[in-house]
Symmetry: C2
Subunit: 413 residues, 2 copies
DNA sequence: TTATTTTTTTCGAGGCTCGAAAAAAGAGCT
DNA sequence: AGCTCTTTTTTCGAGCCTCGAAAAAAATAA
């Protein structure tokens, strides 16, 4: 049972709400905050005074206060960029990027490297990440705020506690304890998240009107990933990061999937499956570990150009994704879908079969109303999602509580 | 954005929590309530005094205070049965039951009738329900509490506002505005819910340890229904009651479903599908509107008895449900499943194929750990779920607010 | 009967939010 | 420049709410 609301929780919640309102609105005045939160002006005044005192918020240097109206001008409040920083790390096949993000959400420093993830040992992988973060932190300057949180996004399955990588296509090893290792090395709390989930977080943050209650993000690459947001909240499974859309069954006992099972959606729509079909190989041929981008773009070009095996391969992919989405729509009703990753640049050759399949499912009558947003480059979205995830934690669980980290960014003029 | 927490919300929430604690625990003492809610003894004392004053709670007549310990004996608090009543209505094929439930959750009066739902007009159906409720209320006695809420459960799809029936197999008509009609007739707020969702509510209430965070209830009858609870909350779609498990696609372009599409799980596992297969009819034969229970039990007996078409029909049904569950497990991780309805009495002939299918899916490695609870008779569960749903509303949205209905059940000695 | 133990109530303190009133800060106009 | 008007922000007292400590209540054990 949820625990009772104590008196001090009340202040914490309302502080959290004020911080969230500022993060969302950018530079709102106290009056605007009062309007969105529903709290009274006097309460907002008190809370924002505290937050400024603690160095979490800062009054904007007026300047462009926009359309001058009569009356006392509004004072814009903003997040103090030096109040804190977070680290956003994206680890994918042969690629590792770590970024330092200031409290206002701006990326300050990047560290990009290309470790050979498939051939490294598990501890080698952990060390590569630790080293990247180490390099990043070494480049911090004195006026950057303290690092209060790190978020690591990885392609694959993480545990529901967001502490370890249970399985991933980027490495043969499993159950890698990234969070423990990084926390030991740096003394900063860490979570390990699924990359598609972070994409969903990023999209929700960027376009809250469109990605509001229920929506899906689908990452089309060698594997198929999904981020699932239900009722505005990121859905993670009870044991894992969940949302294994790519491993829903499309055809019982069908094509060979990389996961060892048969008939998964991925076994028809993953890059390796498209490649396999386009080359005329058997559905049961061993999946390739990776297909480079140029090859996939060439296949898509061929599919556009003429009716042949390539076009049929993309058709099969579209059909698999379409029936899968149809099943999701049967469960959750139709909802916006974002198609992310290289596969979205071939979406034009996938879409006809996909829509055809959807129209045969329970969501079919809304086929026309369902639109797909395409985002070919997933990397910035993943980093953005990690940053937002980490900053939200700082907002809600550290700064809203008020106590402790008093000294954070006070040194600001 | 969620609205700010005002000062009076605090009291409302804590009152709601006290009421919920009493409903769950049955006859807890103030000290026990303090322990579960995390509120202080003095707060519980104040709140419970108010609730008793308002006639919502009542001190138990001591009596069996159990194991007498040293010290001042605990005073058991209970829900005052006369504080309010609710009406629980279950409408299914050719069957209508309405029940008056007292505030403690006990059913007091029933009204059972058998309208010919398939052949009635839409307004005839509404009138049948209105008449049943009218008869029920006419039999109320003076010391019953006021009726504060009605919940109507129907097999089929309801809208997300829980106000109308959008589609149902029990009637050819659609978009029937039950809530408006009943509210106009009786002046009591009404919701219209999906029957499987109410079964899920009932199970969560009865066995909260087992049915805690994520679980599924599957109703096997002529159609296949599902109730979906995620993170402890009943999941409903954005436009409808959602959870149309029966219309997830099992075989693309497969057998003819009652919904007009092809390859749905229901087209393999619904009673009509099993019947059709067992009789050696084509997968595309027109689905029967209803198969009586005796026929289905006879088919199951034949399947148990010898290897023939009947056994093959149940095998196909198990396979369809198993792959469907496998897809759910891929999305949500494995979770408890309750199989409800007549179909569960044939579960022994379904289970082998079902488990075989699950083992071929992403949740397969946990196959052994997945257990199925069987509940052959769905009617009491539906009624129970409706009652719980309605009572929870009274608890949280009427009594917790405190104002207004002051006079409710004060007349209690 | 008295001491002990446990539950429940009472009471004052401390916080929090709110509404009303006051103060602040500029625009508009003469 | 000076006055008025408008809007935002702050201040202040009132009213609630929860909490901890102490007191009261109610029963058992000796």
């Amino acid at each position: 049972m949820t625990v009772g609301v104590r008196h001090d929780d009340l202040r914490r919640r309302n502080r959290a709400m004020v911080i969230a309102a500022v993060r969302r609105a950018g530079q709102p005045s106290r009056t605007e905050i009062a309007a969105v939160t529903g709290l009274s002006n006097s309460t907002i005044s008190t809370i924002s005074a505290d937050l400024i005192e603690e160095g979490i918020l800062a009054q904007a240097k007026n300047g462009e206060t926009a359309a001058l109206k009569r009356g006392r001008p509004q004072v814009a409040l903003g997040l103090n960029p030096r109040a804190a920083t977070v680290v956003a790390i994206a680890l994918s096949l042969n690629s590792l990027s770590a970024s330092l993000i200031d409290y206002s959400g701006k990326a300050i420093i990047h560290d990009i490297s290309r470790p050979a993830t498939l051939t490294m040992t598990a501890s080698g992988l952990v060390e590569a990440v630790t080293a990247a973060v180490g390099r990043l932190l070494a480049r911090m300057e004195p006026d950057h705020g303290p690092v209060l949180r790190m978020t690591l996004a990885i392609q694959g399955i993480t545990d529901s506690e967001a502490r370890k990588l249970m399985w991933s296509p980027i490495t043969p090893h499993s159950d890698i304890q990234f969070a423990d290792a990084l926390e030991t090395a740096f003394g900063i709390p860490v979570t390990v998240e699924n990359d598609c989930n972070m994409i969903a977080v990023a999209l929700r943050g960027r376009a809250p009107d469109r990605y509001r209650d229920n929506f899906f993000t689908i990452l089309l690459s060698n594997g198929i990933g999904m981020g699932l947001v239900l009722r505005g909240e990121l859905f993670t499974g009870s044991h894992s990061s969940g949302g294994e859309f790519g491993h829903m069954i499309h055809v019982p006992d069908g094509a060979q999937c990389r996961c060892g099972r048969r008939g998964c959606i991925e076994a028809y729509a993953g890059n390796y499956a498209i490649f396999r079909h386009a080359r005329g190989e058997s559905e049961y041929a061993q999946p390739a570990a990776d297909i480079d981008d140029a090859t996939m773009l060439a296949l898509a070009a061929a599919a556009r150009d003429h009716d042949g095996r390539e076009r049929e391969a993309f058709r099969k992919a579209g059909e698999a994704i379409g029936f899968g989405l149809g099943s999701l729509f049967a469960l959750f009703d139709p909802a916006p879908v974002a198609i992310v990753g290289l596969g979205s640049s071939a979406f034009d050759v996938i879409e006809p079969a996909l829509r055809d399949a959807i129209s045969k499912t329970a969501g079919g009558q809304h086929n026309a109303a369902i639109s797909f947003d395409l985002e070919p480059d997933e990397t910035p979205l993943i980093r953005d999602g990690c940053a937002r995830q980490a900053l939200t934690f700082v907002d809600q669980d550290i700064f809203a509580a008020g106590t402790a980290v008093e000294t954070a960014g006070k040194a600001v003029a």
